[in-house]
């Protein structure tokens, strides 16, 4: 632990603010948040509905832009990147896990996992190796040619996790990854995420409502009224 904290944090957020405008009304969501996330951390973000958890996660993942403040991830200040640079950065540095898996229904499990690799200079054979490896990590090597519609919810989420890790990104962001799953499948997914943190040294930021899911994380932070607190 001592050793780890001496490393620079993978995510470093300073004075981050974000508000939405609805007509004349300004809805503040995040007001001047600052915090760090260490490499290899499994962080759970909790808080009441509408508190801005997804907003914060989207900012860290580089798919939304803040009004103020800076986000530095792996030494890159993403708030400064142009739209195309940001897209390129996401392809290599972030893995996404969604509540409803968001697999492409017309592509097979293999092709879904391969998608992020199409944005890298990897050759076809190399891509294949990576996809096979990622699918074996999630235990779905035998389902490569199945379409999402032929897989259970839990299996689909595992394919989505394979897609998230296939480019070997620094961080994984997960918005309610177990929100659509039954208890047993949810357990499986959480176990898998925990294993990714321990054996592959991934950093995971997970938004969840479920206290049992949050239990699996190393650290839980609460977001309320635009402010962040540690428990």
């Amino acid at each position: 632990m001592e050793l780890e904290s001496s490393h620079p944090p993978i995510v470093s957020i300073r004075n981050l603010s974000k508000s939405y405008r609805r007509g004349n009304q300004v809805i503040p969501v995040l007001s001047g948040i600052s915090f760090d996330i260490a490499r290899g951390e499994f962080l759970a973000l909790m808080g009441p509905s509408g508190s801005g958890k997804s907003t914060l996660l989207n900012l860290i993942a580089g798919i939304d832009s803040a009004d103020q403040g800076t986000i530095e991830i792996g030494g890159v200040e993403i708030s400064r990147l142009s739209e195309n640079e940001l897209a390129h950065w996401r392809a290599l540095s972030v893995g996404f896990i969604f509540q409803f898996y968001n697999l492409i229904p017309v592509l097979t499990a293999f092709e879904n996992v391969e998608l992020p690799l199409l944005l890298t200079p990897l050759k076809r054979a190399e891509r294949r190796e990576h996809v096979v490896a990622a699918l074996s990590v999630v235990g779905l090597s035998d389902r490569m040619d199945h379409y999402p519609g032929q897989l259970s919810g839990g299996q689909q989420q595992r394919v989505a996790i394979a897609r998230a890790i296939v480019t070997d990104p620094d961080i994984l962001v997960a918005d309610e990854p177990t929100g659509d799953l039954d208890r047993a499948s949810a357990e499986e997914i959480l176990l898998l995420m925990d294993r990714l943190v321990h054996s592959s040294n991934k950093t995971i930021i997970m938004v969840t409502h479920d206290p049992r899911a949050a239990e699996k994380a190393h650290l839980i932070r609460h977001l309320e009224k635009g402010e962040l607190s540690e428990t």
Binding site: D64, A87, H88, P105, V106, E111, L115, L118
Partner: protein, 388 residues
């Protein structure tokens, strides 16, 4: 690398019913587009094949066609002795003085009258038209009231079949033969002895002179010579050129008609494609958000949706071209607008028409898909992902 092509292709396949319905709309337009081009092509092919490059048609200056032409007997005598005229194995010049008259005959079907070309022929007329072949009966005897009908006339006009009698120019003409001239315009004519016809029609002048050139390269000098001769009031054209000129007006008319119909219909088909593609975009908002989050750029999304609508258009194009190719089995008879006579010809599909039709279908797909594709590409990632 962008989004794989199979993404666009399989999405079309997944909603095949919508794809087929939309493509059929575009296919109908491509069908009209291809069919009119095929019609114009068939018409020109028929008329151009009617002529032979070594033959020269001599008609009166400024006469557009043989029907409007008149060549005086003294002028025709001068022309017959021109050195450019080839001489046959029998020592006679390979030249025919002909009479071309339009008459009105009734069709077998519907009893409707239509114009038919009557051609008074000379001894050498058949030798000059190798495409003309007797298929039934015999040749009309010179100096008699016998005629032979072109195949399509024999079939479609009252009294024109073998053994029947046609009445025109106040005489009865017995049909003693039927000839086939392939897909040329001659198949739509009736031929008989030129002197008999001139008597019957009380016409003192020929319509045209046709002859074979002694040397095909002599045409230009021959043309300059006869057209410059103060005793002559004629012009000379290669037979191929003559028939091409005949077909030009009609072919152009058909092409313009085709374009107008196509443009009008294509508006509907393009709107159909646009609606389909907007629906496709609306159904895949989350998917688009996901692809963008994974790192695909706006232009990749744009490309994938445009490809999808291009493919949709191509499906329509293939449907349309396949349907149009069946039209080749149909023979159309229509008015030759230059001579106002009946002319039989077929829809002709060429490689040029094929690729123009497919290109046209993809242009429709592109126009239909471009707005939906831009909507997809313009989406905000977070909002697209929230759409679940």
């Amino acid at each position: 690398m962008g989004i794989p092509y199979s993404y666009s292709f399989r999405n079309l396949w997944t909603r095949r019913l919508t794809t087929v319905l939309t493509a059929s709309g575009m296919g109908l337009v491509v069908f009209v587009f291809a069919a009119t081009l095929m019609l114009a092509e068939g018409l020109q092919k028929t008329l151009v094949e009617t002529g032979s490059r070594d033959n020269v048609v001599v008609i009166r200056k400024a006469a557009n066609s043989e029907v409007q032409s008149a060549v005086e007997r003294d002028q025709s005598a001068l022309l017959t002795t021109d050195p450019a005229v080839a001489v046959g194995s029998d020592g006679k010049p390979l030249l025919a003085k002909e009479l071309v008259v339009l008459i009105n005959l009734k069709k077998r079907a519907g009893n409707k009258p239509a114009n038919v070309v009557i051609r008074g022929i000379g001894e050498e007329s058949l030798a000059l038209r190798p495409s003309v072949k007797l298929v039934e009966g015999r040749l009309p005897r010179p100096g008699s009231s016998e005629v032979m009908s072109g195949k399509s006339i024999a079939r479609r006009f009252q009294g024109c079949g073998l053994g029947e009698t046609i009445r025109f120019a106040m005489r009865d003409w017995r049909v003693v033969g039927v000839f086939d001239a392939g897909s040329t315009g001659f198949s739509s004519e009736i031929w008989g002895d030129v002197d008999q016809m001139m008597q019957a029609f009380r016409r003192p002048v020929y319509s045209s002179l046709i002859f074979r050139l002694r040397d095909t390269n002599e045409f230009d000098s021959y043309k300059a010579r006869v057209e410059g001769d103060p005793r002559l009031t004629v012009e000379a054209k290669r037979e191929t050129r003559y028939y091409l000129d005949q077909s030009e007006a009609m072919a152009t008319f058909l092409r313009i008609l085709g374009m107008v119909l196509t443009v009008v219909f294509s508006i509907g088909a393009v709107i159909g494609a646009t609606i389909t593609m907007y629906a496709a975009v609306a159904n895949r908002v989350t998917e688009i958000g996901t692809l963008r989050a994974l790192g695909f750029q706006r232009k990749s999304i744009l490309g994938a949706f445009i490809l999808e609508s291009l493919l949709l258009g191509l499906c329509g194009g293939i449907l349309g071209v396949v349907a149009a190719s069946f039209m080749q089995l149909i023979t159309i008879s229509t008015m030759n607008w230059q001579s106002f006579s009946e002319l039989a010809f077929s829809f002709t599909l060429t490689f040029g028409i094929l690729w123009k039709s497919l290109l046209f279908s993809m242009v429709m797909g592109f126009i239909g898909g471009v707005l939906p594709a831009f909507r997809a590409a313009r989406m905000n990632i977070v909002e697209a992902l929230r759409a679940t």
